[in-house]
Amino acid sequence: MSDQPNEDNLILDIKDLRKHFPIRAGIFSAVKGKVKAVDGVNLYLRKGEVLGLVGESGCGKTTTGRMVMRVIEPTTGTIRFKDRERGWVDLASLDRREMLPYRKNIQMIFQDPYASLDPRMTILRIISEPLTSNNLARGKELEERVASIMEVVGLRPEYMSRYPHAFSGGQRQRIGIARALVSGPQLVVADEPVSALDVSIQAQILNLLQDLQKKFDLTYLFVAHDLSVVRHISDRVAVMYVGKLVESASKKELFHAPRHPYTEALLSAVPRPDPHHKSTRIILPGEVADPANPPPGCYFHPRCRFAIDICKQEEPILEEICPEHFVACHRAKELSLQGV
């Protein structure tokens, strides 16, 4: 990673991040193996940028996002974050108490607008939680801040004393967004924020997220499986497969000129809303590798149509093949792959 953007324009710099979950079995719950959910991920985010993190279920994209929030404890690795007030800090090295002051600057938006809001709490209590738990505001000021953020996300402040059940899916997602933004964060980890919503509501929420990003100069780590959504909202895109980053590049390069065969297959698989489109779909044989028992060499080789001997033996490392285009594939330089 020689040509990496510098300390001034970055806000997040993740290096060699790993999360290994133990597999326990038997009467003494002995550790019988481990699931390498995230296995050596390197990522960086510039200030004000949207990085789309994509991959299929079980690839570790959500776990990566949650480790940034320290909701899941990393096994090893560094997560350097440039805090507005305190400067660079390695979030992975902090203990729970040390982490607290940073929380107001890193917030999260969840997928399921039904499960992520406590049904027994009023909207006021839900949205104000990041403020009360960090002692940032109380009383009248607290209510004012909640009212103003509700207005920003398109909710009527009068609804503050209502409970979540009175709101539709799209409105609930707005409540979740208001909660994430009320403390004035720098970085927002959005974990599949629109995948549970209907098409017409999805567009409203995507527009809202884009407006808010401009308004508050936010940086998004946007975790999603829907490549159309990711193409729309991201500046750069990173693709994960079985716990590893296989490719990352600017949106334009990744969609037009992918360099990893998995990215190519993923792009070709998306059904297009165009009846004239002639499917040039690459059907991947078999199933996603088991992260508890991955194949030797490149994890993707059993499904890859370009696999050669070296792919079965040696694990490819993530290399920068042109500025800011990183690929982990032995044959990245010789292959010419199709984009969309």
Binding site: E56, S57, S168, G170, Q171, D198, V199, S200, I201, Q202, A203, Q204, L206, N207, Q210, H225, D226, L227, S228, V229, R231, H232, I233, F255, A265, L266, L267, S268, A269, V270, P271, R272, P273, D274, P275, H276, H277, S279, R281, I283, L284, G286, E287, V288, V340
Partner: protein, 348 residues
């Protein structure tokens, strides 16, 4: 197997639900037909009645709901001389628990659901569940049925069919469960397959496998498919004709090419413009539809889409329910295309 006769014909179907909050007109006057070998895509957002329409055809509507009006006719082809005679079955008149519908359901009309984990029984093996259908509909004995089950599993691309027969649903991955579900649906050679969001819960590469599989099987088995989904990309790929539903009504019925190239109804147009595209950059913002789907107890008068419609004609759209109009080759339910609407109808 091209046959001008429809395989299934739905006329003025109304399926209503009585719930505590009031009467939900889940399906409110829907008419369409499906020809054999054809794929009809049914598109709409949650609550538009697309699944209830399918459940009405299968007579699987929950007890709170009832088909209050309309007719569903199934034309049973004689496989030996399908050109001459078709037996006409009035599905709406059948007892939903009676022997006739049970003969049709799963045998002649089969269904694939979104979530295979909840549609399979967790305590029986895949083999038992597929063979049960075969023993019931095809009068096979257990041994023959298991043999055919393995054959069908092989046909849907399952790598080790005999091992899958002895597996329980939880032992299979999502994609494999969905394949087993399709295998079960196809095992009796249905003439119509109703697929209700069959790939929505799957990853995109698995979805691609299942879509290719369904197209291939349709080509070789010649069945008709009613494909219900909210994903416009999926219908563009699968369907010959598409109906777009909103609040229990069809708003537009067109061929796949017409619908995508020349959408007529403001709702269809808005839907197509509101989706982000994998194959195109959209400058700046998506066009979103204002407001949200009204709740089903208080459906607006007139055209159900009028409160959100950018082309609203005051005094007409909010008063009179639009009739279907033929525009080019599409059927559209919108006043924009029908300057002189019929007399004001009594709202239901």
């Amino acid at each position: 197997m091209t046959n001008p006769e429809p395989l299934i014909e739905v006329q003025g179907l109304k399926t209503f639900f009585k719930v505590r909050e009031g009467l939900v007109r889940a399906v409110n006057g829907v008419s369409f037909s499906i020809k054999s070998g054809q794929t009809l895509g049914v598109v709409g957002e949650s609550g538009c009645g697309k699944s209830i329409t399918a459940q009405s055809i299968m007579r699987l509507v929950e007890p709170a709901g009832k088909i209050v009006e309309g007719k569903i006719t199934y034309y049973r082809m004689d496989s030996h001389n399908n050109r001459t005679s078709a037996e006409v079955v009035d599905i709406t008149s059948l007892n939903p628990r009676g022997p006739e519908i049970r003969h049709i359901r799963g045998g002649e009309i089969a269904m694939v659901f979104q979530d295979p984990m909840t549609s399979f029984s967790p305590v029986h093996t895949i083999g038992d569940q597929i063979s049960e259908a075969l023993m019931l509909h095809q009068n096979m004995n257990k041994k023959e049925a298991l043999e055919r089950a393995a054959e069908t599993l092989h046909k849907v691309g399952m790598p080790k069919p005999y091992r899958v027969l002895t597996s329980f649903p939880h032992q299979l991955s999502g994609g494999m469960r969905q394949r087993s579900m399709i295998a079960m649906a196809l095992s009796c050679n249905p003439s119509l397959l109703i697929a209700d969001e069959p790939t929505t819960a799957l990853d995109v590469t698995t979805e691609a496998q299942i879509l290719e599989l369904m197209k291939k099987l349709q080509g070789s088995l010649g069945m008709a498919i009613m494909y219900i989904t909210h994903n416009l990309g999926v219908v563009a790929e699968m369907a010959d004709e598409i109906i777009v539903m909103y609040l229990g009504k069809i708003v537009e019925h067109a061929s796949v090419v017409d619908l995508f190239e020349n959408p007529k109804h403001p709702y269809t147009r808005a839907l197509l413009r509101s989706i982000p595209r994998v194959d195109k950059d959209i400058d700046e913002r998506l066009e979103s539809i204002t407001g949200m789907v009204p709740d089903p107890y208080s459906v607006p008068h007139g055209c159900p889409f009028h409160p959100r419609c950018p082309s609203l004609i005051p005094g007409i759209c909010d008063v009179i329910e639009p009739d279907g109009v033929r525009v080019d080759d599409s059927q559209v339910y919108c006043h924009l295309y029908n300057p002189e609407p019929a007399a004001v109808r009594q709202p239901l």
